[in-house]
């Protein structure tokens, strides 16, 4: 059932009520968009980070930040692109700090035993090498590669999401794939 409230603009109590109603409407709008974009944020984070739990944490943080800044977003139709950018930046920050932490820890740790060929095959060595190769790509190419790899994202949609021409998406994608192949060859 729809809520109905009688308000008198200008009256202090009513002004407060108007603000509260506005905030509630804003929150509802945000939560509706979140239903569509929550998984997208997670996937963008997962594309940068190595573990799913880390990606979830980053996606949550990104959505919380987006909620805080949502009233300042002028063009609401660009919400998806905006959220993708926030998530991507946060995920990159998280990946960098994780890498630094890892480097610090490996300085003190004893070198692990060398894995056998079976170990490598079972533990997804190719994926790990791919992740390392992805880290060497420029940020713009990397984001294009991740978004293009998502199901249902055509080149045109990626171009719209990143607000760049389709030709730019194509060239960035082509170069990124070639560079990855070079690293993995």
């Amino acid at each position: 059932m729809q809520e109905i409230a009688l308000i008198r603009p200008g009256h202090p109590t009513d002004t407060k009520l108007v603000l509260e109603l506005e905030q509630t409407a804003l929150r509802r709008e945000f939560e509706e968009r979140l239903g569509e974009c929550g998984t997208l944020a997670f996937r963008v984070a997962r594309g940068v980070l190595r573990s799913a739990p880390d990606a979830e944490d980053v996606a949550q943080e990104a959505m919380l930040q987006a909620y805080r800044r949502f009233p300042r977003l002028r063009d609401r139709s660009r919400f998806r692109a905006w959220l993708v950018r926030i998530t991507f930046r946060l995920a990159l920050d998280q990946a960098r700090s994780a890498r630094r932490r890892e480097q610090r820890e490996t300085l003190w740790a004893v070198a692990p035993p060398r894995p056998t060929a079976e170990d490598l095959a079972a533990s997804g060595e190719f994926e790990r090498r791919l992740e390392r190769a992805m880290e060497t790509l420029p940020e713009k190419s990397r984001l294009v590669l991740l978004l293009s790899a998502m199901d249902g994202h055509s080149r045109e949609e990626v171009a719209e999401l990143l607000h760049v021409p389709v030709g730019t998406v194509k060239s960035r994608l082509h170069l990124a794939r070639k560079r990855l192949a070079e690293k993995l060859r």
Binding site: Q23, L64, E127, L130, R177, A181
Partner: protein
């Protein structure tokens, strides 16, 4: 070696670019290049599959519910802050910085700190007036009294010219001011009174040393050079009794 020139085109074709006619002809004839192309195509397929696999992962079941709960918490926090009149930390920091700036401006009146520009007239005038002014001892009597008169602009008694200039118009003090302890005031008054008759010496005393040095170096005509020996008059002895009449002026 002939296959080397097709290398880039071959990789581009494996990455999904349409192969040109020359490459297609070469591939039909060259078995190693066909094998390389197949290998490259496999590599690109593996990359695409791995990327697609990682990008099609879905978050855990309670993920979105958790996000909604966090947003609800955030909204409650925001409401509580608004109701309690909470002011963010950055606002306090900004206000403190502004207050500090105002205090600094009040504590340092920049105009007072800047020394007034000294003009040639401003420097020479007291030298001439040192022997011209009959009331020179009056100026010696107390610089505090003199500056008070200037500040309030009261001109009850005949004042020297410099005192009639409004304070705002003065670029520098025209009168040589000497701070003398009260018990030495009489002795200094006597000394100045004795100097009154000796223009050159008086001029030498009151003129700044820098100006004298400049004059000496430049050898300007018409200005007599002053020796240090001239500053010690024969008749002035420090043990002389103090002339009370000089002080009574």
């Amino acid at each position: 070696m002939i296959c080397e020139k097709y290398r880039d085109a071959l990789i581009d074709a494996a990455a999904g670019e349409p192969p040109d006619r020359a490459l297609a002809d070469h591939l039909e004839a060259c078995t190693p290049c066909r094998a390389t192309q197949t290998r490259e195509q496999d590599l690109f397929t593996a990359i695409d599959d791995a990327l697609r696999a990682s990008m099609s992962e879905t978050p855990r079941a309670g993920f979105l519910a958790k996000v909604h709960a966090q947003i609800a918490d955030e909204a409650q926090k925001q409401d509580a802050h608004k109701q309690s009149g909470w002011i963010p930390m950055w606002a306090w920091a900004g206000a403190a910085a502004a207050l500090a700036l105002v205090l600094v401006v009040i504590a340092h009146p920049w105009g007072r700190l800047r020394p007034p520009p000294i003009t040639a007239e401003g420097v020479k005038a007291p030298a001439l007036r040192a022997h011209e002014s009959p009331a020179i001892t009056q100026s010696v009597r107390g610089s505090a009294e003199h500056s008070r008169t200037q500040r309030h602009g009261r001109l009850d008694s005949p004042q020297p010219l410099y005192a009639q200039i409004p304070v705002s118009n003065q670029t520098a003090s025209l009168e040589p001011e000497v701070l003398v302890p009260p018990d030495e005031a009489k002795a200094f008054a006597l000394f100045v009174a004795r100097l009154a008759g000796r223009d050159a010496m008086a001029e030498a005393v009151v003129r700044p040393a820098v100006e004298k040095a400049v004059e000496r170096n430049a050898d300007l005509p018409g200005v007599p050079s002053v020796d240090l020996a001239d500053l010690q008059p024969d008749s002035l002895r420090w043990n002389d009794p103090i002339d009370e009449s000089a002080d009574s002026e």
